[in-house]
Symmetry: C2
Subunit: 343 residues, 2 copies
């Protein structure tokens, strides 16, 4: 539906605007190497592209600026593959070069490096813990009324939670229960724990444990898992450098959105496997009107366990960020798979 020339013009305009953040005029376009026709021709084409909704003007006699539809088309059809610099690749690899085994640390460092490489904001979700398998359950009494329940998963993740013990329950009973549970439940994915307890272990417990009713309550209480995975941020304030956010009000709503973790979580959680680009209002959040979000998933083996996202202005270096995320999510996945899959 678009002619080759229109595509070329659209692409060059968007490339130029991404670089300069300034509306692009016909005259400056006509000077580019790729462009062999006159500014008048470009003007005509630009008018057509505007009618079609790919470009916009900031005022009647201004140069053109890509619309959301324009970016969408650009991302879907015009993206020229970006070759990463050696330096970039090395930095990415450096995250995985050190012998860090703690998953959270890897993830946190990832967020930091990615935000430095892009000068946008990085958000990493997960790795999810619900699919992890139980390695050890421990209940450590602190005093008469309280105890700490600790869950260790096969990925080395530790969850802990303070619980209250009703006075009727004997500490020894709890210890007994914990022993039984460890025997029965090791290797069971955390999501299935409660279910499995009711189906298979409850019977066993009822035979060996005195105040069964009370104890089972504590158990369920301590297995109640964190509602959602952890999020890690990098470069939260990077958006302040972007010229489109030189307005205090915009930056305030954006930053407080970023800090309001729940909303961010909802946004990332539903992102599917693979790399995806959401442009401006496609994100359904008014604070993100001028932002794009690129998400990539990472996995252990075949199973998706988390999401990496880069938040930038709609005027984002899509090509570069996609290449980086692609490299990164693959490397992260393979490291995690190597570390945590075969046990």
């Amino acid at each position: 539906m678009l002619t080759d020339r229109q595509l070329l013009i659209l692409q060059v305009i968007i490339d130029d605007f991404i670089r300069s953040a300034q509306p692009v005029g016909s005259r400056s376009l006509s000077k580019k190497e790729e462009i062999t026709f006159s500014s008048a021709t470009i003007r005509n084409e630009m008018a057509d592209l505007e009618d079609l909704g790919f470009l916009e003007k900031t005022h009647t006699s201004s140069g053109r600026v890509p619309s959301e539809k324009g970016y969408r088309y650009y991302v879907d059809h015009l993206l020229s593959p970006h070759t990463l610099k050696m330096h970039d690749i090395e930095l990415v690899k450096s995250v995985f070069a050190e012998k860090i085994y703690e998953l959270e640390k890897i993830v946190q460092k990832s967020a930091k490096i990615l935000s430095e490489l892009t000068s946008y904001t990085t958000i990493v979700l997960g790795p999810g813990v619900l699919e992890n398998k139980l390695r050890r359950l421990q209940i450590v009494p602190l005093n008469k009324e309280t105890a700490i329940a600790i869950i260790v998963t096969d990925t080395g993740h530790v969850e802990n939670k303070m619980i209250t013990i009703p006075p009727s329950v004997d500490v020894n009973e709890i210890e007994k229960m914990v022993n039984i549970l460890n025997e029965q439940l090791i290797g069971v994915p955390l999501v299935e724990l409660t279910d499995k307890i009711y189906r298979e272990v409850a019977f066993l417990l009822s035979r060996h444990i005195k105040s069964y009713d009370e104890v089972i309550k504590i158990l369920v209480q301590s297995l109640k898992l964190p509602g959602h995975e952890k999020m890690f941020f990098g470069g939260k304030t990077n958006m302040l450098q972007q010229p489109e956010f030189h307005d205090i009000d915009k930056i305030r709503t954006l930053l407080s959105m970023i800090d309001h973790e729940k909303g961010m979580f909802d946004l990332l959680e539903k992102s599917p496997a693979g790399i995806h680009v959401k442009i401006g209002r496609e994100n359904q959040i008014s604070a993100m009107e001028n932002c794009s979000l690129i998400t990539a998933s990472y996995s252990i083996g075949e199973e998706k366990v988390g999401t990496i996202a880069i938040l930038g202005p709609t005027r984002m270096q899509y090509s570069r960020v996609i290449s980086l995320l692609d490299l990164f999510s693959h490397d992260l996945s393979s490291v995690l798979t190597r570390l945590y899959q075969n046990k």
Copy 2:
């Protein structure tokens, strides 16, 4: 050295400027109830106060603005005690009303509420974990090479750390060691652990444990505690609302300073017990030139375990913030003392 009238004028100017953020002129001052003398008199006094370094002008014919020295004097000598509104007190109490026992949650919620009450930024440091006493040490093997070391303290705090196990070491040996250690070390403050191990337990271990040298290495590795206490933030973006930070560059340096936790930590860590006010450059950090930091300590029993701080513009509501912090640190201390001291 200052006359009563000068003190009055200084106080009224600072109060007014804190409220309005606008330079205060002689005419508007003369209209205040407290002021019974003419604008000309005020002008003369203001000139004197400026000569003494308590006031400044933004330009030759502008009204006066407090200098850092002015704020200092105001905080030290002129602060009128602020009576908190019922509503404020209720909000503070609400943090402690719920039956939350997890220390970190209490602290986190505190940061949030305080930032909402003040519309400044809240930073909470601690509670320190080094003085806590060991309740349980646990090492959970994940696979041949790695294991998770878990430390539970008497305050219910859980630290965990991934460690690598050299191939020469038998998992059973580790288990044996952990049992010995739990017998010997429960109740010992975390800071003293390593010391105590070398002094008293090493001998015991060397008798019972085969590959003693290797095992002790793992042990020390797993007891290496986090270099410093955790920090919690509230209202990180609140400073964006302050008119003195309507400048993008200022806000950027400030926010990135806040996000750079190390620097913040250094700032808070050395703050002594009680409530203290650091004004502007007294903080020794250029990004905080226009900021004041009010710190308060909180404690378990008699022992200081952490710091609450409020970061605001130098044009801060000192009186109100001090009252809030005072109330807060006392309440927090008494709750913590009740929960964690008597065991």
